[in-house]
């Protein structure tokens, strides 16, 4: 096989449904339809789909922003459309791989791409909120070099989770 079995591809208006499906079945949090609708419209979006053997199985959505204003919960973050200031930070909003396709190197490939993309935009920080119960994700991001900055209480308050707290992790690139 000449081609890599894992491939990345752009999100288009025609396959937004795939990202939505992946998030629905893997991530515990809900993203409103308006969030999906805005992905392709806003210029601060950084988004990519991952394919395994030509089946779409992972998706990542981040955005650039200026982190002088910090957000205190999930709802605010995903609905904010702030910053006309120069962005100095990339924030990962969603990062998901279908369960059956985890531990195959797909996430690494997505993250490597994101790091390159971040650098190409002259940005040197990537941050992500992680649910405090999501040990697997925390371990994974820390293995990739992310450092825990703070713990935020009630971050996922409106998501109906048993434990609404989150960590904020960051990676300098």
């Amino acid at each position: 096989m000449g081609r890599d079995i894992i491939a990345l591809d752009d999100l288009t208006i025609n396959n937004v449904g795939v990202l939505k499906k992946i998030n629905e079945v893997t991530v515990g949090t809900n993203y409103p339809q308006s969030w999906y609708d805005s992905i392709l419209k806003s210029s601060d979006s950084i988004v990519k789909l991952a394919y395994y053997s030509e089946i779409p199985i992972g998706g990542m959505k981040a955005k650039t922003f200026n982190n002088s204003q910090s957000k205190s919960n999930f709802q605010e973050v995903i609905s904010s459309n702030i910053s006309n200031k120069t962005p100095n930070c990339v924030y990962i909003e969603s990062f998901a791989i279908l369960k059956a396709y985890q531990s195959l190197g797909v996430g690494s490939k997505l993250l490597t791409w994101l790091i390159e993309e971040t650098k190409s935009r002259f940005i040197h920080e990537i941050i992500v909120h992680l649910h405090t119960d999501n040990k697997k994700a925390i371990e994974w991001f820390e293995k990739k070099g992310f450092k825990q900055l703070t713990e935020i209480k009630d971050y996922y308050k409106d998501q109906g989770l048993e434990n609404p707290d989150a960590y904020l992790h960051s990676l300098t690139v």
Binding site: G17, V18, Y52, S53, I55, L98
Partner: protein, 766 residues
């Protein structure tokens, strides 16, 4: 183009000079100027027949300047006929008039008359021959072609034209002679640009030799012509076929091997190779060996791997080994079409059981050790289709759900799940699941069509049209692709829409019967009318498309001669001769038949009256409601328009026109082509029986029953099923009842039919 210089009589007076000038203008499409001259002529002499005939043509060709264009132009044509129908110029112009109206029957009649009345314009023959072949009047076609060739022997197309006419008249030897003659004449004078035509005509000639079944002669000619033939594939195919027919199997087998080398994916070549190697009756092992060798030669081709599975009996242990070798690599590779590929084997139940065993063993023993997660998805996908085929729906659903949980982004899975739901009769859920799959990839045309179809099956016509409209052209100012779907002749959408509207019509009709409230009743009544009309309209649009398919061949009568493609032309003619038995046409006709009979009952029940139109006094509130209803109706109309500025968006006029017409005759017209093309369809005779019965044509009705019966026996079911027996006996009862209650029937006919019933169906007791 129309009347050459030779066609113009000697100028005798001013009128004729004017006419000649006008004719020239007509030929160069300057209709307005021509009309001025003609009007001048007619002012002076209103009896000038040529001018009248030309005026009829001019009015028809000028942009509409009033609503009576059609009848206006026709009245001039008729006047011209009355004045002087023996004038060949007049005849020719009338012929041209009918040709523009695509009435080729009339047109050919007048063109013929023009020639008979001494027209020196031989180009008429060419036009005439196009019409004659269009009307399938092969005998006259040959005559026209013959005379035209004598007149213009310098063009190869005219020779080919005669050869085709002879071929269509089944004069195969004459056809060959014509082709050979021109071939000999033209060979020394060929240019590079003529070589393709030369090649096609040579092969046409050879094809006819083949049809004469004199294979050694055909082979001899073919080999002699080899240097002329550019189409090497046909050359090889013809050659191998002749050798096979002459029982020179060894030579044939060599050519089939060469053909397989050219295209190792063509199943037919493998079958023919076996035929020429005489292996079909040899032991299975021998045949398997043959295919193993071929498979080594062509490792990327499917047929040499698959074909052995079709002939190895399931009882032979090789079958399991071979089926494993075929299935497992493809499961591992993740071939989505795997089930479709092996489906032909499922006709044999014990083969299907072995396949099931092989796949389940794979799941138990090998799958757990496979790293690639997609293998399990494709395997579960396969098993789901396997159980769906076996109608074990619960198992099928289990497997597809496992696959969907595992890889919920794979579109194919939703298609199968939806199909399982359809088989469980959960049509609404099936539609939702299909749409869920569609939303994963809006670019996927296949699932878009499937989702559209399932919406239509669920009577959601508006949603369906909106969905398919992602793939249609959207003109400015249109809200969906409905018009484009008509222009693009998307028959499957039209037929499914027609059937969906028909179900909606039946639904509201039932609701109407149980409705008490008067205002609601009015509203539902309107829906009943609209859906009935829309259903009729969509069905008719399918039929219309087929009319266009037929009309479109007209251009090819000249095009194929000019391009020199007689073989394809003959195929086209043969295809056109049976288009009315195309399944989608039959489906549309079936839908129409039911509606026509319903309308016929309606017509019989209520004599047409005019006092339906009542001017009711409306108060303000009602008026407001009416305005709103009108607005809604208008909006609905823009959704369902089949053409721009559709004057009858709901098909209500279609229905009213039918009601004021002879419905049975109209319906009979639709069935007329099927008496030949659809003689093998039960629907043809069932419907014709009903039409004849209502028309009081009892002898024909009886013969329709007999044809229906004969067809059942021919279909292989030696013992007619009880359901069909009942249909036949119901037909007989209806026939004899109608016959007995018909007081106007001719006693002789009554006797003939009664006798006919007794002699054909002695068991039938009144």
């Amino acid at each position: 183009m129309v009347v050459g210089k030779k066609g113009i009589p000697i100028i005798s007076n001013k009128e004729d000079a004017n006419f000649r000038e006008a004719l020239k203008l007509f030929d160069s499409k300057q209709y307005k100027k021509a009309l001025k001259l003609i009007d001048l002529n007619l002012k002076k002499n209103s009896n000038h027949a040529e001018s009248l005939a030309l005026k009829g043509n001019l009015i028809l060709n000028l942009p509409a300047n009033g609503e009576n264009k059609e009848s206006d132009s026709l009245s001039y044509i008729n006047k011209a006929i009355a004045k002087d129908s023996s004038n060949y110029l007049v005849d020719h112009l009338i012929g041209i008039y009918y040709r523009s109206k695509e009435n080729y029957f009339e047109a050919s009649k007048w063109l013929k008359l023009s020639l008979d009345n001494g027209s020196p314009n031989k180009a008429i023959l060419r036009d005439l021959s196009f019409m004659q072949v269009h009307l399938r009047d092969y005998k006259s076609l040959k005559e026209s072609r013959q005379i035209y060739l004598e007149h213009q022997p310098g063009y190869r197309a005219n020779w080919t034209g005669l050869a085709i006419a002879q071929y269509l008249n089944n004069e195969l030897t004459n056809s060959i002679n014509t082709l050979s003659k021109i071939e000999d004449i033209i060979t020394p004078h060929l240019n590079a640009s003529d070589l393709y035509e030369h090649n096609e005509c040579t092969l046409f000639k050879n094809k006819i030799y083949g049809e004469l079944k004199d294979y050694s002669k055909a082979l001899e000619v073919l080999e002699g012509d080899e240097s002329k033939i550019l189409d090497k594939l046909s050359y090889l195919e013809y050659r191998a076929k002749y050798l096979l027919m002459m029982d020179d199997k060894k030579s044939a087998s060599k050519i089939y091997r060469a053909l397989i080398k050219r295209n190792p994916d063509n199943v037919a070549y493998y079958n023919l190779l076996e035929l020429s190697l005489d292996t079909i009756n040899k032991p299975v092992e021998t045949r398997v060996k043959l295919y193993e060798k071929l498979s080594n030669f062509y490792p990327k081709s499917d047929p040499p791997k698959f074909l052995p599975l079709t002939f190895i009996p399931s009882t032979n242990p090789i079958f399991e080994t071979k089926v494993k070798e075929y299935l497992i690599p493809q499961l591992i590779k993740g071939v989505p079409a795997l089930f479709v590929n092996v489906k032909p084997l499922y006709k044999n139940q014990s083969k299907s059981e072995i396949i099931e065993k092989v796949v389940l063993e794979f799941v138990d023993n090998e799958l757990p050790n496979i790293q690639n997660p997609t293998v399990s998805v494709w395997t579960n996908y396969y098993l789901s289709q396997h159980y769906l085929y076996k109608k074990e729906l619960i198992k099928a659903m289990e497997y597809i759900n496992i696959a969907i949980t595992h890889s919920p982004t794979l579109v194919e899975l939703y298609i199968i799940k939806s199909r399982i739901l359809k088989h469980e009769n959960k049509i609404a859920e099936a539609m939702e699941v299909m749409n869920e799959g569609r939303e994963l990839d809006l670019q996927d045309r296949f699932i878009n069509s499937k989702a559209t179809k399932y919406m239509l099956r669920n009577n959601c016509v508006n949603e369906a049209i909106d969905t398919i409209s992602l793939f249609t052209k959207l003109d400015e100012g249109t809200i969906n692709g409905c018009k484009d779907l008509h222009i693009m002749q998307v028959n499957w959408i039209l037929i499914e829409s027609g059937e969906a509207y028909n179900r909606l019509y039946s639904h509201y009709k039932l609701q109407l019967e149980s409705q008490e409230n008067d205002t609601d009743k009015e509203e539902i009544q309107e829906l009943v009318e609209i859906y009935k009309g829309l259903s009729l309209k969509r069905f008719q649009s399918v039929l219309k498309n087929f009319e266009i398919f037929y009309a479109d061949q007209y251009d090819f009568h000249s095009y194929c001669m000019r391009r020199g493609t007689p073989r394809d032309y003959i195929d086209l003619i043969k295809w056109e001769d049976k288009i009315h038995s195309t399944p989608v046409y039959i489906r549309a006709l079936k839908g129409l038949t039911n509606l026509y009979f319903e309308l016929y009952e309606e017509q019989k029940g209520t004599p047409p009256t005019d006092d339906d139109i009542q001017v009711k006094k409306i108060n303000k509130k009602q008026k407001k409601a009416q305005v709103q209803a009108n607005k809604k109706r208008q909006e609905f109309a823009t959704r369902v328009e089949s053409e721009k500025d559709d004057s009858d968006p709901f098909g209500i006029n279609l229905i009213n026109n039918l009601l004021s017409d002879d419905i049975l005759t109209k319906l009979y017209e639709l069935y007329k082509p099927l008496i030949v093309e659809g003689k093998d369809l039960l629907l043809t005779w069932e419907s014709l029986f009903k039409i004849y019965l209502y028309q009081g044509k009892y002898v024909l009705a009886l013969s329709a029953i007999k044809n229906f019966h004969k067809l059942l026996n021919n279909n292989g079911t030696t013992t007619t099923t009880t359901k069909h027996c009942k249909i036949i006996s119901n037909m007989l009862i209806a026939l004899s009842d109608t016959l007995n209650s018909d007081i106007d029937v001719n006693p002789a006919i009554k006797k003939v039919v009664e006798k006919g019933i007794i002699s054909s169906y002695p068991d039938f007791e009144k």
